[in-house]
Amino acid sequence: MTSPGTTDAARAAVATARARPGTVAPASTPTARDDSASGARLATSARRHLLSVADLGRDGILEVLHLADSFAEVTERDIPKVPALRGRTVATLFFESSTRTRLSFETAAKRLSADTMTFTASTSSLSKGESLRDTVETIDAMGVDAMVVRHASAGAPHRVAGWVRASVVNAGDGQHEHPTQALLDCYTIREALARRRSGDAPDDFAGLRVAVVGDIRHSRVARSNVLALSALGAEVTLVAPATLLPPSLEGWPANVSNELDPVLAETDVVYLLRMQSERMQGTFVPSLREYAARFGLSRERAARLAPDALVMHPGPMNRGVEIDAEVLEGSSALVTRQVHNGVPVRMAVLFLLLGAAPGGLAAPEAPR
């Protein structure tokens, strides 16, 4: 009646170009069982943290996206709430401010009936000279189950994960990664593709050509998206002036172009990154005007896109720089869907980390 368990070795040993000596590895448990007569598949793996998209691998990403489908239905209800994480506490620790992402996480937690705790840099005792470690250990001692951490320094959530019992979700660490953004972006693409084919949402992006345009060098959103999209089989092209590309692209699963125009007609998804004005001070580009002229998605450029090409942006947008206002309002722009999908995707992530068995082997079948 019951099928044998499958090990999680493939998931735990994510094949990326990175070695991770000394990091906290996701705790994975080998289980995949059929529940008795109804065939309910219970366990996949129990994870403790989400620090990088690379932690998930293709299977993990799909697991999140499938879960997000269920949570999307929940968010459409009149009472958009399930008791799944009742009694758990999710703390948001935003050492770098971002109202939007923080609210999205807090909404996700609340929709799962979890309690939330908010901690922002200005209210922190960090300003009183308390170290990061002291701060998170104090919050951990209050018994929170998950910490959603955003920090200006790459690797901060990784450090926190080593100090606390709680599960840690990386909500953006310096220039390194923003895993939930990439997940909601993939979800949004998948949703758009399903709508277009009026069929099931695809689990494979093979043949999908994505152009990521803009300040790749400083963008954690770009890094996470390159990892997630290529894990799902998409072909990614980075489009930026040389100064806004990372110093080395060794090991990056992506093509490169220093010009946007040649790429336009041959792309299915245009993903625009925000161009910050500070980059001019750093002499990365001579002026925003020149940047917009070379890389902005103007109305004229948008007209040259394939008819069903998708346009995306993680927000907030600089209208007139990376994208023209009129293009934004066009139906091909998925920006509002991206924002909307943030909640179910983050619900899926929180449920994945907190709703599973805490680090142990799967218990026997759930009785009905």
Partner: protein, 167 residues
């Protein structure tokens, strides 16, 4: 139970539903993911054949309402989809096996969030005993006493009972 036994039981249950509810007005048939859904679909067909009416049909995944989240990994099977507002309707919950009753309790919690039904009735193909909560079915295909360590499966081949064995 053989395939024919299951079919006959469904026909009888369909008649019982019509009789008990004095017709099919205001009924909604909701199948529990995943085992109850095919049974619920067949019930709706039978109700149409017998009574000539189209009873709305929905499916419900109760993963997020389970009381063992955090004790073991839990994943939703399929989506929940309700065809209409449940307010004021009689919901007939359909599942394949009734065992401890926890799944039905979770289903009742889920239904609460989906609207205020006038009444909820429970139809199961097999009641295997070992209840842990005060839940009782309104319509039963067959009572099949089992040991706790046995497994019960309702499929297109009928109802099978077997040893769980080492997992």
């Amino acid at each position: 139970m053989s395939v024919d036994d299951v079919r006959r039981a469904l026909v009888r249950i369909a008649h019982e539903i019509i009789e008990r509810n004095h017709g099919t007005e205001e009924l909604v048939v909701v199948g529990l993911q995943t085992g109850g859904v095919p049974l619920a679909a067949r019930l709706v067909e039978l109700l149409r054949e017998i009574d000539g009416t189209d009873v709305p049909f929905g499916s419900l995944d109760v993963a997020f309402y389970r009381d063992d989240i955090g004790l073991r990994p839990v994943r939703p099977e399929k989506a929940t989809s309700m065809p209409c507002d449940l307010a004021g309707r009689v919901v007939v919950l359909v599942d394949d096996v009734l065992f401890t009753g926890r799944t039905v309790r979770a289903a009742l919690d889920a239904l609460r969030d989906l609207g205020r039904a006038r009444a909820v009735q429970l139809a199961v193909m097999v009641d295997r005993g070992h209840r842990e909560l005060p839940i009782r079915p309104d319509y039963v295909g067959k009572n099949l006493p089992t040991r706790r360590d046995e497994a019960v499966e309702v499929s297109e081949d009928g109802v099978l009972i077997g040893d769980l064995g080492p997992v």
